[in-house]
Subunit: 216 residues, 2 copies
Amino acid sequence: MIKLYSYFRSSASYRVRIVLAMKSLPYEYIGIHLLKGGGEQFSPEYRKLNPSALTPTLVASDGAVITQSLAIIDYLEETHPNPSVLPVAAADRAYVRSIALQIACEIHPLNNLRVLSYLKDVVNAAEDTKSAWYAHWVKLGFDAIEATLASDPRTGTFCFGEHPTLADICLVPQVFNAKRMGIALDAYPTIARINDAACALEAFSKAEPSRQPDAF
Amino acid sequence: MIKLYSYFRSSASYRVRIVLAMKSLPYEYIGIHLLKGGGEQFSPEYRKLNPSALTPTLVASDGAVITQSLAIIDYLEETHPNPSVLPVAAADRAYVRSIALQIACEIHPLNNLRVLSYLKDVVNAAEDTKSAWYAHWVKLGFDAIEATLASDPRTGTFCFGEHPTLADICLVPQVFNAKRMGIALDAYPTIARINDAACALEAFSKAEPSRQPDAF
């Protein structure tokens, strides 16, 4: 059986949980608490699986160890192609991937736990500087994504047409995170509408942080 | 003909230039200077192509506009599969992608121009705080990648065996950037060896920043 090392609040873990649920793949959930005891991700056992000490890590049924959420999702897509999380045409696949990467490369890496901790502990940033930092990168990213989604004819109920794709799979955890940090979505009506549509799907709902075994 | 909007020093543009050269795809190079006149990436014309105001952007021969380097590379891989930048087996593809993403999601986004500018201009970080920030994320990332490459039996002349893949395509620009910022590679013998092997290939050499039309 697939094993997923996950932290309930980790956006990257949340993405993989959505895909596992969409593809109806059963898996064993192993909680890696990023704060408890200085961070379970730093244990020698976990680092053996994932030298970056980040969540998630997936261990496939055949024992293959895969890190990095987008690599895991591509692996699941290639080994369990139905339902697919990508469109068919190469240019459309690239479009969906580009929205996903705008989140995974331009927003999330700047705002995850270890970066905010470094800002506080090493840069000595005050609480409001840290909040402004978080809000700044969400705003830059969401401004660009909203502009794209509001104008591209490919936008439908979801980021691309009428079926959820990798773009929605990255968008929903980022919106969840932004809301938790008190960011208003008023300036992003298309993002908000698509987020609501995706969250109403069972696979997205099952993957939600509060519904994970390690949620508190 | 393919058009590539690129900045010679942009790591993400560098990745795409390597792939275009590996696949022997001719293209028109359009320089987008990230510093001149406050940044050409912010012009209304460029923002129409790329609302994120980041480089690179690729415009395919049929007019399809694609942003985000990894989405562009997947597009080129799907439309021009030979030579491939990914292994054949799904688990190996995921392994190569995970190394690429460790760079593209965990190192580069924290250390690009706009983040360093924000640290200086908004957070008021001193020059040495900014340098320590840069070095910190390179160290965390390279420590993990070196540990993986030094122990995984799939490591060969390149990150994966005897042919360059997406992992090398992301590694070389990151090493280039780190060297430019004065980071020593002594602690990373495997990374340094693979970087040298890749840089000796014509496709990697042609893509090097100093050899671009907009280099100064």
